[in-house]
């Protein structure tokens, strides 16, 4: 459904809350990934608060849409979105990566209800998503499968094996959302392993492709609606994002892939998020 401006604004505020939680979670955890989770906060907000047909209090509801996180290392953003959506108490976010937590450093299906597949080792989520989509179609299920992927993740061969399969089978119930933030660990994607022309690659594999601004909630939601309307092909939404989005000193910088802010940096980051980069006044520190 197309959003009103007021609704879009509300989701922007939600995404901002999620970003603040990500910073706090990472600082508390003492390790983890910053750039990817911050960059995907808008996409996850749009999914959990608009796109997904789900029941946070009944995570095993058989008819739910499936959200598969293939790039497992960005799980802080999923955990934060899930907590805000009501899957578990927000205060549990502070247990990220701690001993005995349900919020494992990389998401674990058996640990936390609502996590559809265990991931972390890159490339395996998309294959599982293909399996889910194929089985759903066999059983004439109506739900959609959304698979989140990193762009660096696309280096893995298994990813293209899955893309080929989905193309061959015309898995129209499958929508992949690529975090096209142009970074991975060793540098920018086009330096480490060039992906472009990415749209054309997908098209050649039999996919329908939509390019969007991954920070525009309305565009994200519209693209997901368009994806649903496409009934003859799997859909790849290439979400152009800014790694570290919302925290000036992290934005566009690949070195923030797997680094977390120190406490003074976190203060600056939180203040920036609170004031929307100085646009509004912050009431409290």
């Amino acid at each position: 459904m197309h959003l009103s401006d007021v609704e879009a604004k509300k989701l922007d505020i939600k995404a901002n809350q999620i970003r603040k939680d990500i910073i706090k979670m990472l600082v508390k955890a003492g390790s983890g990934h910053s750039a990817g989770p911050l960059g995907m906060a808008d996409v996850f907000t749009a999914l959990y608060f608009n796109v997904l047909n789900h029941r946070p209090k009944q995570p095993t509801w058989p008819e739910r849409d499936r959200l598969v996180l293939s790039n497992g290392h960005i799980c802080p953003v999923q955990y934060a979105a899930m907590a805000h959506a009501g899957y578990f108490p927000i205060k549990e976010l502070s247990t990220l990566r701690k001993f005995k937590t349900r919020l494992q450093g990389h998401p674990h299906r058996a640990a936390l209800p609502g996590i559809e597949v265990t991931s972390g080792p890159l490339g395996e989520g998309i294959s599982q998503a293909c399996g889910i989509a194929y089985a759903a179609r066999m059983d004439k299920k109506k739900y959609n499968i959304y698979c989140m992927m990193g762009d660096g993740e696309l280096d893995e061969g298994i990813v293209w094996e899955a893309f080929m399969f989905a193309g061959k089978q015309a898995l129209a119930n499958l929508t992949v959302i690529i975090d096209r933030n142009n970074i991975q660990i060793d540098g920018n994607t086009e330096d480490v392993m060039p992906l472009e022309p990415l749209r054309e690659k997908f098209e050649a594999f039999g996919w329908y492709v939509i390019d969007i601004d991954g920070h525009n909630i309305t565009e994200i939601i519209d693209a997901c609606a368009e994806a649903k309307a496409v009934v003859e092909k799997p859909v790849a939404i290439i979400a152009h994002t800014i790694p570290g989005k919302g925290v000036d000193f992290m934005e566009y910088d690949f070195t923030w892939h797997g680094r977390i802010p120190k406490s003074d940096e976190a203060k600056i980051a939180l203040n920036e998020l609170r004031t929307l980069g100085g646009k509004i006044k912050s009431e409290h520190e």
């Binding site: 001993f99 990389h106 660096g152 993740e153 660990i185 060793d186 480490v192």
Partner: protein, 327 residues
């Protein structure tokens, strides 16, 4: 009594013992090996700094290859390069190589008889907060089962450096297993190291602890504690899991009559299993194995996890007492 020939650091149990990850020893070692042998090349899968290959990359930019996040391709590509005189070191996290690339390693490196070195970083549960998906505790089993493969698990930074230099000299497949965390550096540049020869770090006649990796230090701590109870423990650093140093093990079995094996790996199929396989066929004696007991890891600090899985000195001490009763 600690073996003077082992030339361990003087203040072995000092609180301020230097701590450096074994992967750092590898990173420095591969540069030294690269200086000697111009055919050495390094391939890496988007983990250049955490595998410490940035040092090699800085020194020999033309001999460093960024393979992208594609471990299977890296392994088979390295085999191709080895067929053309190169000596490739391929590096990733152990979970992904040898983990993900296992069949490529089996066919294109081992069966194909190519001279490729597999560098597995971040092995063991001590990887910590990243959780089970990133904690390789099956890699010793995966590699030691392969014909033509040499498997080395250095016990500290110094030994990792030596081991890297030594595997570069072997013609054939080698796996070197490395840890993420900073762990005590208790050997010295003078400590002897030879692939395939286990080192006796402490002489003893009542029982033998056979350990590998950074847990060798825990074994030494346990031996020291047990001394107070007049239990005389031999400690063997079994850094080469394949080929196994059968003569050192057989001698220890005959002289002490009971073994404890210690490793940061599944009990099933690991170093302890390989020792048991050998003893069962040659000189059966009571053995207790310390390792992860058929479980996956999880998030936590390295200390919490080593404790949870029972891999530290107090657990070794318990196991020693248990095995002595079975003697």
């Amino acid at each position: 009594m600690f073996n003077p020939k082992a030339k361990l650091v003087k203040k072995l149990f000092s609180k301020d013992i230097k701590k450096i990850p074994t992967r750092h020893g590898y990173g420095e070692g591969v540069v030294l090996a690269g200086e000697k042998n111009k055919n050495i090349v390094v391939l890496c899968c988007d983990l250049t700094e955490s595998t410490r290959n940035h040092l090699f990359k800085q020194k020999f930019p033309d001999r460093f290859i960024e393979a992208g996040i594609a471990e299977q391709n890296m392994a088979a590509m390295a085999a191709g390069m080895a067929l053309c005189t190169k000596v490739p070191f391929i590096a990733s996290y152990a979970m992904f190589s040898p983990g993900r690339a296992w069949e490529q390693i089996r066919t294109t490196i081992c069966y194909n008889e190519t001279n490729v070195k597999i560098v597995g970083a971040h092995a063991g549960v001590s990887v910590g907060p990243d959780g089970a998906t990133h904690q390789a505790i099956e890699d010793i089993a995966l590699t030691r089962v392969l014909p033509k493969m040499t498997v080395v698990v250095p016990c500290d930074y110094e030994e990792a450096k030596k081991a890297t230099i030594e595997i570069a000299k072997i013609v054939g497949a080698c796996y070197i297993r490395l840890g993420r965390e900073a762990t005590p550096v208790f050997t010295t540049p003078k400590t002897p190291f030879k692939i395939g020869r286990a080192e006796i770090l402490r002489e003893g006649k009542d029982v033998t602890i056979v350990a590998c990796g950074s847990l060798v230090y825990e074994a030494l701590k346990a031996a020291k504690e047990l001394e107070k109870e007049k239990i005389d423990v031999r400690v063997i650093n079994n850094h080469t899991i394949k080929p196994l140093d059968k003569s050192t093990l057989l001698q220890a079995a005959k002289q002490t009559g009971a073994f404890i094996t210690v490793e940061e790996h599944q009990k099933n199929g690991g170093m302890g299993s390989s020792v048991c396989e050998f003893l069962a066929e040659n000189y059966p004696i009571p053995v207790e194995r310390i390792g992860v007991d058929d479980m996956f890891g999880e998030s936590g600090t390295p200390e919490e996890l080593l404790d949870k899985f029972g891999l530290t000195a107090p657990y070794i001490i318990k196991a020693v007492k248990k095995v002595l009763k079975r003697k």
